[in-house]
């Protein structure tokens, strides 16, 4: 299940996947990020606090979302990263491009 909270700012949205972010649900996350950016909210925070597992397709969806958001003049940041997600970010060296933030507010406020 994926929730979106668009009340975090006029041009920002908080997207919260829950459970396991694997190939079963990643198409939904990709669509949701695209729709959110198209609706004018290109500053996206994906809050992973309710998500205990991300596979390579989930990482791919986050990278796709990062590119989509940046093309629209925004950005995609991640927050609330648990130990498995931190591990896969490190294994793939993607922690350089998707730097984990502790909180959604911290992710939105970071430069």
């Amino acid at each position: 299940m994926i929730e979106v909270d668009t009340h975090v700012g006029e041009d920002a949205a908080d997207i919260r996947p829950r459970g396991r972010l694997t190939m079963v649900v990643t198409p939904q996350l990709r669509t949701l990020i695209n729709e959110t950016v198209q609706a004018g909210r290109a500053r996206i925070v994906v809050d992973l606090a309710g998500c205990e597992f991300v596979d390579s397709s989930g990482l791919g969806a986050l990278i796709a979302g990062l590119k989509t958001a940046r093309q629209a003049g925004g950005d995609l940041r991640i927050a609330g990263v648990g130990p498995q997600i931190a591990t896969v970010l490190r294994l793939t060296n993607l922690d350089r491009v998707l730097r984990p933030h502790d909180t959604v507010a911290g992710a939105l406020g970071a430069g």
Binding site: D55, S56, S57, L91, R96
Partner: protein
Amino acid sequence: MLEALWGEYDDVTPSDRILFETAVIEIAGNIAQHAAAGVPLQFTLNLWVEPDRVEAEFRDHGRRVDIDLDVVALPDDSAESGRGLAMARAAVDEFHYRRDGSTNQWRIVRRRQR
């Protein structure tokens, strides 16, 4: 299924669990995507927890996997796919694939932390 396994073997460290499960899920995903190629495919998965290692073996009757495991590498940071097997290989100590007749066989071993 892995949760049940860890319940039974609660002395496997969190780090070993995370890395082993990540590799298992990536191989299962690879079988579903490549060997199955859009048609339903069953695979069998056997798991072993030994004092010194955790091990998984997958068998399926899908298409042969044409891949040189020695050159499995991470794609560019901006790639939206193609990381699965490189992730799996990085997460375990042994990573094998072989085609045996009409069967694909994957075997991974993670040596346990003490």
